[in-house]
Amino acid sequence: MTSRKELVAAIYQLMQTSTDSKHLAQHIAAHLLDQRGTKEVGAILRELESLRLNRDGVLEITATSAHALSAESKAAIKALFDAKQIIMHEQQDPSLLGGVKVRAHDRQVDYSVRTRLQRLKTGAN
């Protein structure tokens, strides 16, 4: 039975060498099913993110906005973080009304209009 840390290290190694991500994903899924560790997927991915950041300086961020982000906006967002390489995943959620919510590993910046209006309503700081 491999520990999560060992598994994450192994996946990281494979990511360095593999070119076919679908094939890699199938392998990992099969292994997890075999080990009955499918519930660990979230934790594995988070640890993988952390490993990549520490070893390669690669940071993956998720930006959620109400409208599509312009290039300038993306640049402004990326400029917040200090990493060798920043990979941005974009999502759109019209319910945010405006602004953007950026999540990076264990940090977040929530500048969405919806959250700020929510704070106004609840009186929260």
Partner: protein
């Protein structure tokens, strides 16, 4: 302009200020994600800078928040115990650190209120507007900040005040099986603080009790006029284990406010067995390794850090005190079980309640042999001390002989006398509920009993004679009794007065001798 006048201008200013606050620039904040939730525990990924017992706000889908506090700080996730409704929290919710540890409102504004461990009111008297907040967990005062216990805390129960005296700043455990009168002792002690106008603030903590019992108790306290100097911190069996776990700590913080402000407080934990069970539940759900009887390994520390906060402060620190009366429920009288032995070793003595004494009609059902006060005479009023010296010994001798007497009919005079005296003392020490006795009453009764004045009357007449004697002394020698109530040792003249009054009362109760025919 009167403060009660609400102007649109003021309201508008407040609203504008609230909006302005939102114009602040965005901040990068540490955020965690709830990975799973269940049984009152949220497991959170992230928040690497979380401190032990730090409060965490978890966002709900409606935009509100639920508070939790971090108890398990693991490598990759944090176990946080929820203080609110777990149904509002979903997996994937964001969690933020607050930078604060668990705090409760403290201060004189809480006196007379019934609250939960978070300071929320449970009576219908509106929100508690306390001026101070205090952390739930605080370090106990050090050795140099304390003074030895020397002031008495009178319970009003003769059996306790004479043989197992309690002092201010002491921890005295009340231990016994269910339905043996443990809570009754605590309630009578609270009532006595009011009757004797001692100024001691009572704090009663109900941990996992039936709410009907708490309601009855509050009603009784109101009827006796004690509620005006009492705080009730209540958690029921239906409350989450986290609240039951916090209750005694929150109550102790409330008591510490008075202790540190030159006042005296009495805190009653009813009961710590349920507290240990709630902590066991939380620890098992947090996946901490179980030890003996499935309790976690730090269950001793759970109670020791709680009870060490009850202390008598030195004069430099205000000379205040916090006295603790923890209650432990045993099963089948087994005081050698895990939790009872833990708490016995922490406290400064115990009052052991026996079931068979209770059913024999000896109430309070205190086992004189197994009960002890490690503070002893230093915490006893001089008046009571002067008459209580031989009581324990007399009762111990009586107990030895009573068993022997059942099997033997030929007893010598001395043995018979000891048995008679012991029976009378036992009868004298019985006391009805909600009827605490003052210093002068206890002193007068014991003095009379020691001098053998009651030896001539039957046991069934002890109580009527007691009532008659106290009534007589109160009517005829009120000033002397008020002086005796101050606590000083009675002088010979006063003793004589009491004995004379007793002899007069006893005369009318003595069995009449047959007239000799001329």
């Amino acid at each position: 302009m009167a403060t009660q006048d609400l102007t649109i201008k003021e309201l508008g200013a407040d609203i504008r200020a609230a909006i302005e606050k939102l114009k602040t620039r965005p901040e990068i904040e540490e955020a965690g994600i709830v990975t799973r939730i269940g049984d009152g525990v949220a497991w959170i990924y992230g928040l690497r800078n979380a401190g032990y017992n730090e409060m965490i706000d978890i966002e709900t889908t409606e935009g509100g928040k639920v508070t939790a506090f971090a108890l398990n700080l693991g490598d990759d996730e944090i176990g946080a115990v929820l203080l609110g409704d777990e149904r509002l929290v979903k997996a994937g919710a964001n969690a933020h650190l607050t930078g604060r540890i668990m705090e409760v409102p403290v201060g004189p504004e809480l006196v007379g209120r019934v609250v939960d461990p978070l300071g929320n009111p449970l009576d219908d008297k509106g929100p508690v507007k306390a001026s101070h907040m205090s952390p739930v967990e605080r370090p106990a005062p050090g050795v140099l900040d304390r003074k030895s216990v020397h002031e008495p805390l009178m319970t009003g129960l003769m059996a306790i005040d004479t043989m197992v005296p309690i002092g201010r700043g002491q921890r005295e455990l009340i231990i016994g099986d269910r339905q043996t009168g443990k809570t009754a002792i605590a309630v009578d002690t609270m009532i006595n603080q009011h009757r004797q106008q001692t100024g001691v603030i009572n704090i009663y903590v109900a941990i996992g009790q039936k709410l009907s019992k708490v309601a009855r108790l509050v009603e009784r306290l109101k009827r006796e006029g004690v509620m005006d100097q009492t705080i009730v911190v209540a958690t029921s069996a239906a409350d989450p284990a986290s609240l039951q776990y916090l209750a005694p700590y929150a109550a102790t913080s409330m008591g510490e406010y008075f202790r540190d402000n030159k006042q005296h407080a009495l805190v009653i934990y009813d009961d710590l067995s349920k507290h240990a069970a709630a902590y066991r539940q939380m620890s098992l759900l947090l996946r901490r390794p179980p030890g003996r009887e499935a309790y976690p390994g730090d269950v001793f520390y759970l109670h020791s850090r709680l009870l060490e906060r009850s202390a008598k402060m030195s004069d430099e620190n205000g000379a205040g005190s916090l006295t603790a009366l923890p209650i432990i429920e045993t099963q089948a009288g087994d005081i050698s079980a895990y939790i009872p032995t833990n708490v016995i070793s922490i406290t400064d003595g115990q009052i052991f309640m026996e079931t068979n004494l209770f059913y024999q009609g000896i109430r309070p059902a205190i086992s004189v042999g197994l009960s002890v006060s490690r503070v002893g005479g230093s915490a006893q009023t001089k008046a009571v001390k002067s008459v209580a010296g031989n009581l324990r010994l007399s009762l111990a001798q009586f107990r030895e002989l009573a068993a022997f007497a059942q099997f033997s009919t030929d007893l010598d005079t001395e043995t018979k006398q000891r048995i008679e005296r012991g029976q009378r003392l036992t009868e004298l020490l019985k006391q009805p509920q909600y009827s605490p006795l003052g210093v002068w009453e206890q002193t007068a009764l014991l003095l009379t009993a020691n001098e053998g004045v009651f030896d001539g009357i039957s046991i069934e007449q002890i109580k009527p004679v007691q009532a008659a004697l106290l009534s007589e002394l109160h009517k005829q020698h009120k000033k002397d009794m008020e002086k005796l109530n101050q606590g000083d040792k009675p002088d010979d003249k006063l003793k004589e007065t009491i004995l004379k009054a007793a002899q007069n009362v006893v005369k009318s109760y003595e069995p009449k001798a047959e007239k000799v025919k001329a």
